[in-house]
């Protein structure tokens, strides 16, 4: 009895040890200590806040990308949507003369509508999200460029608005509380509601989920609408951080977000993954690109190291599975050979 208890306990420990999130956390801690030892100013509070400030927009996109990927989908249009929302926000404020709060609210609405367009095409036409959002990736960016003709830049926002991106409130970067609220909201949605758990069911087996009576289309649609609204929020924060909105805002952010999600252990095929994994993924990438500056290393190495990190993390978490298959094979091999031996 006691031995069986011990083995199950050690198995549980092993499971935790080889959990993707644990490995990633370890990587993050190693990164942190390494950069802290080579860069005298890396570990300061100022720099920590810099890292936070620089990763909020991509972090927001990664957060909403997680439920999408959990359902087996993907959204390539989020970076473009950020650009579109940024310039529409600028237009609403400068050209339509809306007060900032109203312009923010309208932008969030526009983001949700744009996400709704993705959702509509994906669920009604039953086309792969990859194809649909590849289309809207060009559509949203194209719209942004057409509206500004590629040259119009929105600037001179009131200082009270720029606070959101550049200043500190209550000692932390002003955008941090926004990010934390969204992060907690999405974590609760995905991990603590039946609603959110259905995302994984849908990603794991969409037809199974449908037979089980889940309103698959409606739930899938919701994650894309949510993604649109949060991308708009990211656009507002981005605009406040830079003090300008231009059609090329957020170029390539969708890929950073997807990288963070996959690095965080979410299966690209859907069905498995976690929001806290994504947060660790975002942190690992952000610390890496910031730390390299403090280590006086060329920043372009960041891309390379992110790739190495991704492959490393995927390999490590694949080890238990690999060991298990090996063990099964070793156990099955003798029984296969034995009958042939007497002959």
């Amino acid at each position: 009895m006691s031995t069986s208890y011990r083995t199950s306990e050690s198995a549980a420990w092993k499971a935790i040890l080889f959990r993707h999130e644990t490995v990633l956390l370890l990587v993050l801690v190693i990164e942190w200590f390494y950069f802290n030892s080579v860069g005298p100013r890396f570990g300061t509070l100022d720099n920590t806040f810099d890292i936070v400030r620089h990763s909020v927009e991509i972090g927001l996109l990664a957060l909403v990308m997680t439920p999408i990927i959990l359902t087996g989908g993907i959204d390539l249009s989020l970076g473009s949507l950020l650009g579109l929302c940024a310039i529409l926000f600028g237009k609403l404020w400068r050209d339509a003369g809306l007060p900032i709060p109203l312009a923010i609210a309208s932008t969030l609405g526009i983001g949700a509508v744009a996400g709704g367009l993705n959702a509509l095409l994906i669920t009604w036409l039953r086309l792969p999200p990859l194809i649909i959002t590849l289309g809207s990736y060009s559509l949203f960016r194209g719209l942004a460029e057409a509206i500004t003709r590629g040259v119009d830049t929105f600037t001179n926002f009131p200082p009270s608005f720029l606070v959101l991106g550049q200043e500190r409130l209550l000692g932390v970067p002003a955008q941090a509380p926004v990010f934390i609220v969204v992060a907690i909201g999405i974590w609760l949605l995905v991990h603590r509601t039946t609603f959110g758990r259905s995302f994984r069911a849908i990603g794991f087996a969409p037809d199974g989920a449908r037979y089980a009576g889940l309103p698959v289309e409606r739930r899938v649609a919701l994650v894309y609408v949510l993604a649109g609204a949060v991308a708009a929020l990211a656009a507002v924060i981005y605009t406040a951080r830079l003090g300008q909105a231009r059609a090329d805002a957020g170029t390539g952010y969708e890929l950073f977000a997807i990288t963070a999600v996959v690095l965080g252990g979410t299966s690209i095929f859907g069905g498995a993954g976690s929001v806290h994994g994504t947060l660790l993924g975002v942190a690992a990438i952000a610390v890496l690109s910031n730390g390299l500056v403090h280590a006086r290393q060329p920043r372009e190495v960041a891309g390379l190291l992110t790739g190495v990190l991704l492959i490393f993390a995927l390999c490590i978490s694949a080890i238990p599975k690999l060991l298990a298959t090996l063990r099964v094979r070793r156990q099955t091999v003798p029984t296969n050979i034995q009958p042939s031996k007497p002959a």
């Binding site: 935790i16 959990r19 999130e21 644990t22 956390l25 993050l28 801690v29 942190w32 200590f33 802290n36 860069g39 005298p40 100013r41 890396f42 570990g43 300061t44 509070l45 100022d46 720099n47 920590t48 810099d50 400030r53 620089h54 927009e57 040259v151 830049t153 600037t155 001179n156 720029l162 550049q166 981005y238 951080r241 830079l242 003090g243 300008q244 231009r246 090329d248 805002a249 957020g250 170029t251 390539g252 952010y253 806290h276 660790l280 910031n290 500056v293 403090h294 006086r296 060329p298 920043r299 372009e300 891309g303």
Partner: protein, 337 residues
């Protein structure tokens, strides 16, 4: 749930110990006057661009001459937020002076102002930020310098008379319009027998420049010279002239990079390429940056002496690099950008 808790505790621990350790060692600061080596941070518009790599060579020379640390970093992808991010990193890193070539004026000015608030000296080169975001702008070429040099060179090649056409990036680009106005003023005042017969935009695309130039040549057979005032248009116009079999009969000049035009210059299609010496721009920028950090360069100064290059004129808060340089068959091999 338990492992989740462990996760967060671990993360918290990492942050706390990280912060503790660094507050133990607050040294590292290379604040001015600390007797430490000055650190100059130089930012290009984009890091892989041959133009800025060449600037860096000059900057390296200046940094070596003056015995300062030079950090050269800039965006490698087209994300307009990257320049701000790097500057904010530099602020935390505690560099002494930042010299930036600004990709987007308004956006980067936010970060540069922040740097100035923190006591970091700021100047710009190549392309300026908002005037209140920097102390000086190292101006590589004034519109007068560019316009006059282009027009003088065109007139010289045409023998002071005949028709010519201009290919520009777009009819709305502010800097191009400025140059073109200057070219026109120079033509009226000095070369009244020269005549501009066409002005065509190429959207900053080489193939569009080529098709525009081809159309231009067949519509205006008497054109003696094509003047391309955006860099992709110079090889584009040269290719058009070459394919039309008009090499030598129609001259090509323009504002561009020597490397992009070397082939055409050697084939005799393009006569001269006009640009400033980018190495000198990098050298002057770092010299000015160090002088600014040491307090030797103050606002209101009329001249600035930059090491081996000698004196430069300061117009307002612009340190002027001087007249553009003409690259031709004889000297183009000495330049590799």
């Amino acid at each position: 749930m338990k492992n989740l808790l462990a996760l967060f505790i671990g993360a918290g621990l990492a942050v706390v110990t990280g912060c503790n350790k660094s507050s133990d060692s607050p040294a590292g600061s290379s604040g001015p006057g600390g007797g430490k080596k000055l650190t100059v941070a130089l930012m290009p518009k984009s890091k892989g661009n041959a133009y800025f790599i060449s600037c860096k060579q000059g900057a390296d020379t200046a940094a070596r001459d003056l015995g300062v640390d030079l950090i050269f970093d800039g965006p490698t992808d087209p994300d307009p937020a990257k320049q701000n991010e790097i500057i904010e990193n530099w602020i935390t890193l505690g560099v002494d002076v930042i010299a930036a070539a600004c990709e987007n004026k308004e956006g980067i000015s936010t970060a540069l102002r922040k740097a100035r608030q923190k006591g970091i000296k700021v100047l710009t080169y190549d392309s300026d930020a908002a005037p209140d975001a920097r102390s000086f702008f190292v101006n590589q070429a004034t519109p007068e310098g560019i316009g006059d040099t282009l027009m003088d060179e065109a007139a010289r090649l045409c023998g002071n008379e005949g028709e010519f056409a201009i290919i520009t990036a777009s009819l709305t680009a502010a800097n191009m319009n400025e140059w073109q106005k200057r070219i026109e003023a120079r033509r009226i005042s000095k070369y009244p027998n020269m005549k501009m017969v066409a002005l065509r935009p190429c959207d900053d695309l080489k193939d569009k420049a080529q098709s525009e130039a081809t159309a231009l040549l067949s519509a205006n057979p008497s054109v003696k010279l094509l003047m391309a005032i955006c860099s992709p248009a110079v090889p584009g116009a040269a290719e058009a002239v070459k394919q039309a079999g008009k090499t030598g009969r129609v001259k090509v000049i323009g504002l561009g990079l020597p490397s992009e035009n070397r082939r055409y210059v050697k084939e005799g299609v393009t006569d001269s390429v006009i640009l400033w010496k980018t190495k000198d721009l990098g050298y002057l920028t770092v010299q000015a940056a160090v002088a600014l950090a040491k307090g030797e360069l103050k606002s209101g100064a009329k001249t600035f002496k930059a090491g081996a290059l000698g004196g430069f004129e300061i117009q307002g808060d612009n340190i002027v690099l001087g007249k553009p340089f003409i690259f031709n068959k004889d000297n183009i091999d000495q330049f590799d950008f």
